[in-house]
Every structure is written in C-alpha cells, then in structure tokens.
C-alpha cells in the first residue's frame, strides 16, 4: 500500500468515526446545545468525506450551507426559545423507544445486507477534480435548467410564506362589509369537533 493510499484510508476511518459517533451523540444526548454542536461536527466531517472523493465544490457548498447557515440557524433557534418547560411524561415511552430502536436496527441490517449483495459499478465515474465547478455550472444551465429555475420559485414562495406566517397583524375588519371580522369560522374551531354535543 502506498503512502497516499494509506493516508487516504486513515483519513476515511477518522472521518467515518466522527460521522457515526457524532450522529449517535446528536440523537442520544439530552442537552440540545450539545446536540447542535455535534451536528456541526458531523456536517464538517461529511464535507471532509467529499474532499476525499475529490469533490471540492460540493465540500465547500456543504460547509457554507450546512455549517454556515443551517447549523447557526439551529443554534439561534435554541437561544431564542430558551424556555424551561416540564413536559408531561408520555405513557409507554420505554416500549416505544424499544420498538423504534428495533425497527431502525432492522432497517440498518437490511441496508447492510443489500449493500454487500449489490454489484456496484466500481470504480465508478472518474472524479474530474478542479473542473467540477465548471461542469456543474454547465449542467445547471442545460439539462438541469428546469429544476434550477424552479428552485428560485420555490425559494421566493418559501420566503413570502415565512413572512406571512411570522407577521403579527391579521385583518380585523371585513374589507367589503366594513364590519368587524365575524369569527364563527374560527371561534367554532376552538371546540373539539369530535365530541358531538347536540346529540342526546
């Protein structure tokens, strides 16, 4: 084994361990701040895996988007919602945990089994390294033009929707009749519909 190959293997093992242990920690730790920071670590390690695969553009995008934006946003959300609240204990939580754990383990073993029985296209397409950025740009403006343009509509609509949902003011006057909004649609909504009060 050459030095290059063994260095790559060692890097892969370290990054893989960080990803696996980090994500287990994200799920199992009870302090949400630790979970958020561990998640950042996992994202960084995934970016490292991309670098090992010679996909530097994807690695940079991963760091910018996930660590730079998503993870920071999560931390901000935690900071803003700093409220201690005693949650009601859920009945049969232990049983649920065991059940979901069993399902996840079953899925994992299925994936591992399929992984070993599938004839993969090895060694796969050759990485084009530094040309990747140029090639991605070319694809974005040719065969992936439609999803690329649609993504802008998606982002515009998500932005408008977020503003609409976060905005405090709601209309209190009917535009047409100038009366105060008559609330029966909403007021009646407060009471549970499943209990039928009118029946004897």
């Amino acid at each position: 084994m050459t030095i290059a190959a063994s260095t790559e293997l060692i890097c892969f093992l370290i990054l893989g361990a960080v990803v696996v242990l980090g994500s287990i920690g994200v799920v199992l730790l009870t302090n949400i701040v630790y979970s958020a920071f561990l998640l950042g670590g996992v994202f960084m390690a995934v970016a490292g895996l991309y670098l090992l695969l010679n996909a530097s553009f994807v690695a940079a995008a991963q760091v910018l988007v996930y660590v730079g934006a998503v993870n920071v946003l999560i931390l901000f959300a935690i900071m803003l919602v700093n409220k201690k609240e005693e949650l009601k204990p859920i009945k049969g939580l232990q049983l649920r945990k065991i059940l979901s754990g069993a399902i996840c383990l079953g899925l994992l073993s299925l994936l591992i089994r399929v992984d070993f029985t599938t004839p993969w296209n090895l060694p796969g397409p050759k990485a084009i390294g530094e040309d990747a950025t140029e090639r991605i740009g070319e694809h974005l403006f040719t065969d992936y033009l439609l999803p690329f343009e649609l993504a802008s509509v998606l982002l515009l609509m998500a932005m408008i929707g977020a503003i609409v949902l976060a905005r405090r003011d709601v209309l209190i006057q009917d535009l047409d009749t100038e009366k105060a909004i008559d609330l029966p649609i909403i007021e009646n909504g407060k009471e549970p519909l499943l209990i039928d009060k009118t029946s004897p």
């Binding site: 519909l193 039928d196 009118t198």
Partner: protein, 523 residues
C-alpha cells in the same frame, strides 16, 4: 458482476465540455406553467398596493392566468412528443390531462375561497400567490421525467401546501396541521431522496427512462429497496393507508378551500408521479409494485370508508372518504391495461368536479353559519335549497349512484379491474362503495328528512340568503358549475371517455407498458 455494471454508466456525466450547450431546449412545453408564474408574480405585485387593491385585482389576474394556461394546455393536446429541457420534462397527453385537472382544481378552489379568506381575516393576495406556486409545482411534477426535476417540483408543491395548511393563524388547529404536515412531509421527502440516490447509484443517470433501462438489464436487490422508498413517498402524497395518518388532522385544521385543493390537485399530482415513477421507471419490478399497490388499495378502501362512518365533522368525513376514493383510483393503476389507465384519468376528472362541488357547498354553509358539524345540517332543505341540492348530488355522485358522473367513473374502474382479473380489488371496491353510500346518504337524510321542528339550532337561526358580498358570486358560479357537471356529466359522459382514452393513447410511456403486460400475459 461489476464488469456488466460499468456498461450502464451513461455518458451524462462524461459529455465533452460545451457539448450540451448546442442542443435545443423546447421550452415551449412549459408555457402553461410560465403563464401561471406570471399570474403569481402579478398577484404579488398588486398585493404591494394594499389589501383593498389585492382583494380587487388578485381574482381577475388569477382567472386570466389559469384560463390562459388551460387554453395553452388544450393546444398541447396530441402535440409533437419532443422531450424538453434535454430530457427533464415531457408534455405527453397524460401529463397534459393531469396538468389540466390540477389547473382546473386550482381555479375552482380559488373561486370558492375569496369570501372564506376575507371572513377569516386572512390576506388574500399572498394566499393566491402561494396557491399558484403550489399549482406550478404540481403541474411540473406531472411532466417531469428526471429525478432532480421530480424532487424540486415535489418540494415546491409540498412547501406551498405546508404554508397553505397553516394560513389561518388565529386558529390553533391550523398551525398544528401545518406543523404535522411539515414534519411528516419532510420525512417523506428525505426517504424519497434516499431512494433516488440509490437509483442514481445503480444506473448512473437521473433520467427516469435511462434508469428504467438500467433496472431492466440488471435488477438488483438494491433496486427493490429503492422501489420501496420511492413508493412510500408516492403513497404519502396520495394519502394511501398506512401512509395516511397526517390526512385527517391536516384536513381538519387547514382552511377549507385549501383542503379542497389538497384533496384534488395535490392528489392528482401524486397519481401522475406514481405513473411516471412506477410505470416509467420500475417496469422491471412490475409484479412487485403491483402487489404493494394492491395491498395499499385494499387497506385504503377499507379503512378510509369504514372510519368515515364514525365522523361527526364534515371535513373529517370528506378527508377519510378521500382516502377511500384514492383507493378506488389505485385499482386502475394496478390493472396496467389501456382501460385501467383511462379509467384512472377519467375518475380523477370526475372526482375533481364532485369533490370540489361538495367542498363548495360545505364552505358556503360554513360562511353562513360557522359550523362544520354534520348534525348541524339537520333540516337544511327548508332554509337553503341550493346547498341541500348541490351537496346531495355531489355526495350521491361520490358514492356512485347511477345517473351521476361518479357512477360511470366507478363502473369503468371496476370493469377495467374485472377484465384484468383483479377480483380481490373489485370485490373490496364494491363492498366499500356500499359502505360509503351509507355515510353519504346519512348526511343527505340529515338535511332532507328532518321535520322543521327537528332542525338544528344553527339552521333555525339561519341568516337570510344574499349574494351581494364580494366573493359570493364566484362561489355560487363554482358551486353551480361543479354540481351541473356532476349531475349532467354522467349522461353526457361519452366525450369524457374519449378524452380519457386518447390521453392514454397519446402517451408512449403507457403504450409501452401496456404492450409489455400484453406480451407477458401471452407468454
């Protein structure tokens, strides 16, 4: 066998630089969507001028946009079949038919929502814009032939649906519905991405047709896993049991016009996606996905129709009935014959009118009384004959009572299923249809049979009928149109049958699948 696997590496990632730039885009295929995008931007712009301007100008902009889009779709019918955007989109007849159903469902949902939105104090301009964005995503989803465009258009539809579900901010149930829909929907999207990444790993391409070819030549166990992942997303979108848990809560909490759109437009997009992915891509796993869909269809028909019996809220009842209706439509998909696909398209179109007609009636009732309870409809025929007549006709049609449109749709589905020897599905469908007739009729009985003194408090205090307020006229127009088509469409349904048949005939994807099934049946 890694050597054979290497052959399937398509040249998509290996093309010489600049080669792709010389090819034609055929962007005209998405002109209808472009018009809808313009209408969406138009509503956003008039919204800047304030609430009053938006309430005045947003409706006509939406009507013009959707109307033009429908006309353009009609022009695309039987058009030349050239893949546009280098294989990301294909406007075959099936796509045109489903896009028309979606655009029409948005148009009717908008017609019935103006008054409701104003009365609940929600801003109208942004509401229309988000609904149009959802339509855009759903329409593009129908014609997408590439995993990436499928995913992006699916997300456009889903994110817009989450926002619409949470649009009534003052109602806690609306926020709850949005949050539930968001969480379950994101999980479904993640599962879809996982399945799509497996498909890309097997075939080396994101084009559905190329993936289909790769799966045919080397079916691996991994592909079966990808099938399950992709299928669960499809089942989530069409709310098939056991992926239906979100449906009743979301339908109950969301504003009613949004529910109307979700139950028709979003579901139609889900079925188009199912055809594209399962028929177009998983042809090699024909037996497997048909078996899975049979199970889903039986469960949906049974659970949807049985649980609907116990509901006391009108919206919740329609939510469960829509789960059952999706089960009926799945029969056509499982058949995989010419008649099966045509019956599926026909029933989707019939379902559009009868379900939206029923929603128009219950929205009108909610606007006038503020109630959603089935027991509050008691004795309504005395006070409001229009709602009583319209709702009765639409519910009878949903149940499949003879002269209505729904009967012919259902009989065609069952006929196609019986001809393809899907006896289990047809028998379950017939039995659950009878169950569904029971709960539809009990609503009608509640409205019609009760004596005046037995009428509910709400009906006794019924306001005088007037149509002068802004938004009431469109609501009435939509209601009357839907009810008319439902009632008369059954007798004059032969153009609809022809339309559904030529939708299937003009779709090479379906023709290939039908030919394949035919060969297998002979061999």
């Amino acid at each position: 066998m890694p050597e054979t696997g290497a052959l399937f590496l398509t040249n998509q990632s290996m093309t010489a630089p600049g080669e792709l730039l010389g090819l034609a885009l055929n962007a005209g295929a998405i002109l209808p969507e472009g018009i809808i995008l313009l209408a969406m931007l138009g509503t956003l712009l008039v919204d800047l001028a304030g609430q009053k301007a938006a309430a005045k100008w947003a409706p006509p902009i939406c009507y013009i946009g959707l109307g033009t889009s429908l006309c353009l779709l009609a022009l695309q019918w039987n058009g030349p079949l050239e893949p546009s955007f280098l294989g990301a989109f294909l406007a075959d007849n099936l796509a045109v038919a489903f896009r028309a159903v979606i655009a029409l469902s948005t148009l009717i949902s908008l017609l019935i929502s103006w008054r409701y939105a104003e009365q609940s104090g929600s801003p109208v301009g942004e509401y229309a814009a988000i609904l149009l964005a959802a339509t855009l995503g759903a329409m593009l989803l129908c014609g997408s032939t590439d995993l990436i465009s499928v995913f992006v258009s699916l997300e456009t539809l889903s994110v817009a649906s989450y926002l619409l579900a949470g649009y009534m901010k003052r109602d806690a149930r609306s926020s709850e519905a949005a949050l539930k829909y968001l969480l379950v929907g994101s999980a479904a999207a993640a599962v879809f991405l996982y399945g799509a990444s497996l498909l890309y790993g097997i075939s080396g391409s994101t084009n559905l047709q190329e993936i289909g070819v790769a799966l045919l030549t080397s079916p691996t166990p991994l592909a079966a896993l990808a099938l399950v992942f992709v299928l669960s997303t499809v089942a989530f979108k069409i709310a098939a049991v056991p992926f239906h848990q979100w449906t009743p809560d979301v339908y109950e909490g969301s504003p009613t016009p949004v529910v109307a759109f979700l139950s028709v437009g979003s579901k139609a997009a889900g079925f188009a996606l199912a055809v594209r992915l399962l028929v177009g891509c998983f042809g090699a796993f024909d037996n497997q996905w048909k078996l899975l869909f049979t199970v889903l269809a039986v469960l949906s028909m049974t659970l949807g129709n049985v649980v609907a019996l116990a509901q006391t809220s009108m919206k919740r009842m329609l939510a469960y009935s829509s789960i059952g209706q999706a089960g009926f439509v799945m029969i056509g998909l499982v058949c995989g014959t010419e008649d099966g696909y045509a019956a599926m398209v026909l029933y989707m179109a019939a379902y559009l009118f009868m379900n939206l007609g029923a929603f128009a009636c219950i929205i009108l009732f909610t606007i006038r009384t503020g109630s959603d309870r089935i027991s509050d409809y008691a004795g309504l025929y005395q006070k409001d004959p229009l709602i009583t007549l319209g709702l009765s006709l639409c519910l009878l049609s949903l149940g499949g009572i003879p002269p209505m449109l729904g009967f012919f749709g259902k009989i065609y589905l069952f006929f196609a299923g019986w001809a393809d020897q899907q006896y289990l599905l047809v028998v379950v469908g017939l039995v659950t249809s009878v169950i569904s007739i029971y709960y539809y009729i009990s609503v009608i009985k509640m409205m019609v049979v009760k004596e005046p003194h037995e009428a509910s408090e709400v009906v006794k205090a019924y306001p005088s009928i007037q149509w002068k307020t802004i938004g009431m006229q469109p609501l009435r127009a939509a209601l009357v149109t839907c009810v008319l088509v439902t009632a008369v469409g059954g007798i004059l349904s032969s153009p609809l049958f022809q339309w559904a048949n030529s939708a299937v005939a003009g779709t090479p994807l379906l023709q290939e699948a039908i030919a394949l099934t035919g060969e297998r049946a002979l061999g």
